[in-house]
């Protein structure tokens, strides 16, 4: 443990040391570095694939699920996407050094509120090796050093990607340690990292519920949680049925395994007897398992009854729990009680009902007549994302370059003292 701790501290000190250098590098140099990283990925496809195949072989031997093996597996196409993603980040506007506000005090002091990098960003993630290069790219562009800690199941892939993308960084004035990877799979490494509040400024956990809970419970460093998405669609009495069915289908079926897919549908009681049979037909066709409240069961005979637990559950699968509600107020209360403050939608033609829903549902993203599937950095036009925050401080919803920055106050005087 002592050696492990010394090893981790050493890595973190390297990252911290490089963060100042990184915060002072021009947008042009950062973009060149991103371009270099992208090129390096393309040039080293064979090396990365061969290292990746080691992880895949171990996973297959261990008999893990097909879905997990799929998330772990890299292909030439996927590496090309990682390279493209770095180029795209290079093309985005530099978020650092923007004057967010500026004012003059009666005593002549000029106060400027400037956007600056956070400093050292710890990213703790699972499975997908592309997170390694995506996170590194976003952190470099936003002027942050990063400390990456991927899952042990992807260690060979992550180390290979890290090696490839950091190799040429110093040519652009960026120390290699600006992108630091924890090169040991020992779980205690996370425990050690999470205590170093003097070296790491924020931790972003990305992965399953277990990982995120573990990080939140053990961290002395501020954490921005990317937690589960228990997203709702509320179909109001005044909904356009065709629109509601389209949105339902898209939000549930297009990609059921992601956090912005809906897990629950709430239906106004006055339309339930007409809308539910229509929706059940469409969802059945797509192989969606339905679970209903007692009122739903009266209309859709033979489906499974939803238990109290169902309302809290993120299925990430072709399952949808349905509840008939008295009115939009009950829908709002239900969402605020059982939801995860991620993304929730209302379909209605009634503007005042929509307005109340949008105001009172306490979620990062609230939709009127659109699919919850749009909660995404790219779909929002941010050009990238490091994840979707479900916390209520610093950042909510899609987090990208701006959200990887904070501000500082620069105060210009001419000798002012306080009386």
């Amino acid at each position: 443990m002592k050696t492990l701790e010394a090893n981790i501290l050493n890595l973190l000190k390297g990252a911290k040391g490089s963060s100042l250098a990184l915060s002072n590098i021009s947008a042009k140099e950062k973009n060149k570095a991103l371009h270099g990283m992208s090129q390096a990925l393309l040039k080293n496809v064979r090396f990365i694939l061969s290292e990746n195949s080691k992880d895949v072989a171990i996973a297959n031997e261990a008999g893990v699920s097909e879905a997990l093996v799929d998330r772990l597996t890299l292909t030439e196409k996927r590496i090309k996407e990682m390279a493209d993603s770095l180029e795209q980040v290079a093309s985005l506007k530099d978020p650092v050094g923007k004057i967010l506000k500026q004012w003059r005090r009666p005593n002549g002091l000029i106060i400027k509120k400037l956007s600056v990098p956070i400093g050292v960003v710890g990213i703790i993630y699972e499975s997908r090796p592309n997170v390694t290069s995506d996170s590194a790219g976003l952190c470099i562009k936003s002027g942050n050093a990063c400390v990456l800690r991927g899952g042990s199941e992807a260690i060979n892939s992550n180390l290979a990607i890290h090696k490839v993308i950091t190799k040429g960084l110093e040519r652009f004035g960026i120390p290699e340690s600006a992108v630091t990877i924890i090169n040991v799979t020992d779980r205690r490494a996370i425990e050690i990292l999470l205590k170093q509040s003097g070296l790491v400024d924020v931790v972003i956990p990305r992965g399953g519920e277990g990982l995120i809970k573990y990080v939140a419970e053990n961290s002395l460093i501020p954490v921005i949680k990317h937690y589960k998405g228990i997203c709702h669609l509320y179909v109001d009495k005044y909904a356009n049925f065709k629109m509601a069915l389209d949105i339902m289908l898209n939000a549930k079926v297009q990609r059921p395994g992601v956090c912005n897919a809906i897990e629950k549908m709430l239906i106004h009681k006055d339309i339930a007897h007409k809308f539910l049979p229509l929706s059940a037909g469409i969802l059945d066709d797509k192989g969606v398992e339905l679970r209903g409240c007692s009122e739903t069961l009266k209309i859709l005979k033979g489906i499974k009854k939803a238990s109290e637990k169902d309302w809290y559950e993120e299925y990430l699968d072709l399952v949808l729990a349905i509840k008939v509600v008295k009115n939009s107020d009950e829908a709002i209360s239900h969402i605020n009680k059982y939801g995860s403050r991620h993304s929730d939608a209302i379909v209605t033609k009634n503007k005042s009902i929509a307005g109340k829903f949008l105001k009172e549902v306490d979620s990062a993203c609230v939709y009127h007549n659109a699919s919850t599937r749009f909660t995404d950095g790219y779909q929002f036009g941010m050009g990238a994302e490091i994840g979707i925050s479900t916390d209520k401080i610093h950042a909510r919803g899609p987090m990208a370059l701006e959200e990887l920055c904070i501000y500082k106050y620069v105060i210009l005087g001419s000798g002012q003292t306080r009386s």
Copy 2:
């Protein structure tokens, strides 16, 4: 413990329940409520003073320091100041519901980024009973419910103030539980509170180092730390001596017990032999104890030698540690290593040296030719403050109404689905 836990959970659920109501109340009603609270304080001066005298008597019996008794003691004047402060918060602009940004996506979606209250704000503080009404006022104005947990030494005063200010709240549509106080002094109450991440959205600890460390180490709720201020004044080679001496005196002596007072002074080696004797004369006069690095000791004979520990220490007293540095780069490194990222100042006539200092010193507030004592919500023109954040996410430096808000995305569609 079971009963205590049930009691605390009950209080927190009350606060959480009222937070939705509060987030929907108009600025006009909130201002009326603040005015009502202010009036209530003035009408109940005798009751508050009599409850406060109980706390003061216990403190005197326990033989605590004069400074602590002073912080604890209320007077008619201090209660009047609390009332004035509520009126001032009423006069500030409502931070809720502002459109921070709005844009249209190619698919026609309109995305609005709106400022909203955080939800339930926990405030854990010590000694000064005015924090009870100040925090309640700021939270109400920013649409947040609050859970207040003052020190046991001020329990009678805090309960009295709480009783007085919440009594009439319901007349303005604000549930009394929007301002919830933890009415037990058992320290385990804090432990229980800090685990309730489903009921409280953020915790702000205000007080000594011990309290803030305890909260940061035990909280499952995001914490915004208001930590110590190890503030520096760097007097550059190109400083105007008169200005540097004025700022030094103001930042060290005007109110040494606060976090934005300087604790350290760094001097460029080329001017140390001239500047140090001048500054020592002035500081001696004011009874400031000086501690110096070995170079300082060569110039200021007879003063105490500063130990490594001195550079990390927040004296909050008439003590100043002095170090001679080679140049501004050494000053910057020293501040980034030993400082607490609070407030640091440079005095120089050289704009390029100043620019580098302002850019590279990683602190919430960096000053050119002005006293660090201006780091304060009122001095910044925010009209109020709930404290000074030394964290690097969500808010840095003075925190007031805007910093007690977060945002949500409201997305308006016409049936859009994701392809």
